[in-house]
């Protein structure tokens, strides 16, 4: 495998609703910042890949107009996944592995504010048996959360601790939407939203975007003083049928983690894409991370969750922290589908 690193990361200030900007206006400064960070223009980018979904914007081909944000002229080599941007990064990483290009730009975005994201995401579910019932995202997460609590693996206090830590960590993240210093006791005292779910178990509805530049070998060293090298990256999917899965674990996370080399351990921290508190515990256990590994120093998806970009942001946050010298080895994940159906795991390492 060729050595490929994340050399630049930029994200928007995440907000509940970007009411004065459309997707292009939201994305353009972030793409520009990602390129400016490493002092390059589109002429040095060999491949561009983006992640988004038409269903959040409520427009077919929504990604077509947002391509304008990179200024694709002269024409560029470009592709798009209808997936979280972390998978766009994977596709770009594959392109760099072929060895013909050295630099790729990845971006992802979503505005959840135009529609009702809880309802919109029901359209991901089986169209014959499940989607006609419209069970929303919180309901799907509730089924998984209850299964975890019933299994005895976690208590409500464990879930509250995840939320409290995420909000506290987010205080130091200028891009985060939801921050706070409530204690576990404070959170547990709040009324339930829908038993077993509290509001704090759920991510904030978020408009936002992110962009990442990856580069290979010497080009990465030229562009960054301390590139965050991708030591392993893999992704797996499992059945969507909840009845076929043990909801208290994530087989796809474990498999992807194993393929990405997680078992070697030695992680200074992890950025886990887990939109709901129980999912962070499930992902952590599935990756075999012990209690000493800090999770989501950025605040994670529980403090800003632009759907389709939140996974890419985990990879970007982990890489930035490594490049800044705040840790040398990290694990970052992305998830998609109900109850952690599809997962990507990336192991990142600095040069230290």
């Amino acid at each position: 495998m060729r050595d490929v690193a994340i050399v630049s990361f930029a994200q928007s200030k995440h907000v509940r609703a970007q009411t004065d900007s459309n997707e292009v206006e939201m994305l353009m400064p972030v793409v520009r910042e990602a390129l400016d960070n490493v002092g390059i223009g589109m002429d040095r980018v060999g491949f561009t890949c983006s992640g988004s979904t038409d269903y959040l914007s409520g427009q077919a081909f929504s990604f077509v107009m947002t391509l304008d944000s990179v200024g694709p002229w002269p024409p560029i080599s470009e592709s798009h996944v209808e997936m979280d941007g972390a998978w766009a990064l994977y596709e770009a990483w594959v392109k760099l592995q072929i060895g013909e290009i050295d630099v790729a730009l990845i971006y992802a975005y979503s505005k959840s504010s135009p529609g009702n994201v809880r309802e919109v995401l029901t359209r991901q579910l089986d169209p014959y048996f499940v989607a006609p019932l419209w069970p929303d995202t919180i309901a799907m997460a509730g089924l998984q959360t209850r299964a975890l609590l019933d299994s005895g693996t976690a208590t409500p206090a464990d879930l509250a601790a995840v939320a409290a830590t995420a909000r506290r960590n987010a205080l130091a993240n200028p891009y985060a939407l939801l921050t706070g210093d409530a204690s576990v006791e404070d959170l547990l005292a709040q009324p339930m939203l829908a038993d077993p779910m509290h509001v704090w178990d759920c991510p904030p509805i978020t408009d936002g975007c992110a962009a990442v530049v990856i580069a290979a070998d010497d080009v990465a060293r030229e562009l960054s003083k301390n590139p965050a090298w991708i030591r392993g990256i893999d992704h797996r999917i499992e059945s969507q049928a909840l009845g076929l899965r043990d909801l208290t674990t994530s087989v796809s996370t474990a498999t992807a983690g194993s393929k990405a080399g997680v078992s070697a351990g030695g992680f200074d921290f992890a950025e886990l894409h887990a939109p709901f508190t129980a999912q962070e515990l499930i992902a952590r256990n599935s990756l075999g991370l012990d209690a000493s590994v800090p999770i989501n120093p950025s605040g994670g998806a529980l403090s800003a969750n632009p759907v389709m970009a939140a996974g890419l942001i985990r990879l970007g946050e982990a890489a930035s922290r490594i490049s800044r010298g705040e840790g040398n080895r990290a694990i970052a994940t992305a998830t998609s589908g109900p109850c952690l159906q599809q997962n990507l795991v990336c192991v990142l390492e600095g040069s230290a």
């Binding site: 004065d20 459309n22 292009v24 990179v70 694709p72 002229w73 529609g115």
Partner: protein, 172 residues
């Protein structure tokens, strides 16, 4: 492959399709540039934006130059006249469409802009519309002006001589 069915449904007519209606509400954000354009229409003005790098004028403005990838902020008020670069005669109706057919959908290059705008052509028989034809915007009555593109009802010939189509090459 043939299915083995239990006796309880073996002899009844099988379901072959299912209705799954979908209903989703969206409210869109036009963005800064489009908002300014739409507010302009309400005042019977057509407002474009000029790219600081290539100097091209875009209308409707999208806040970004698609070829340079930079924000466009300088606003340019455009005249209400232009030239048809190309067009088609629409003779088909479909779900959700309310137009009387046939009608002409034309690309109109407003004077002083660098990109044609797609709009409706009226007040001329559909078979007399041609590339190079000079046209002007027809607005709704002042008290019906709204921040929408429907404030321009359509375009119509303004009587000036045709433009040479070769001069529009880049846009047609």
């Amino acid at each position: 492959m043939s299915l083995v069915l239990p006796p309880s449904i073996a002899d009844v007519e099988q379901v072959k399709s299912v209705r799954t209606p979908a209903h989703l509400d969206y409210s869109y954000t036009p963005g800064k540039a489009m908002s300014s354009f739409l507010r302009g229409l309400e005042q019977k003005k057509i407002i474009g934006q000029k790219c600081p790098q290539c100097g091209k004028v875009y209308v409707p403005p999208r806040g970004a130059c698609p070829t340079d990838g930079v924000p466009t902020v300088e606003e340019v008020e455009l005249p209400h006249t232009g030239t048809i670069t190309t067009f088609c005669v629409v003779n088909v109706s479909f779900y959700g469409q309310g137009m009387e057919i046939p009608y002409v959908s034309a690309l109109v290059l407003l004077d002083g802009s660098d990109i044609p705008l797609m709009h409706l052509m009226q007040e001329v028989p559909y078979d007399q519309v041609r590339s190079g034809m000079r046209v002007e915007a027809v607005w709704v009555p002042d008290d019906e002006l709204k921040p929408t593109l429907e404030s321009i009802k359509w375009f119509r010939p303004n009587g000036e001589p045709d433009m040479d189509s070769a001069s529009m090459r880049g846009n047609a």
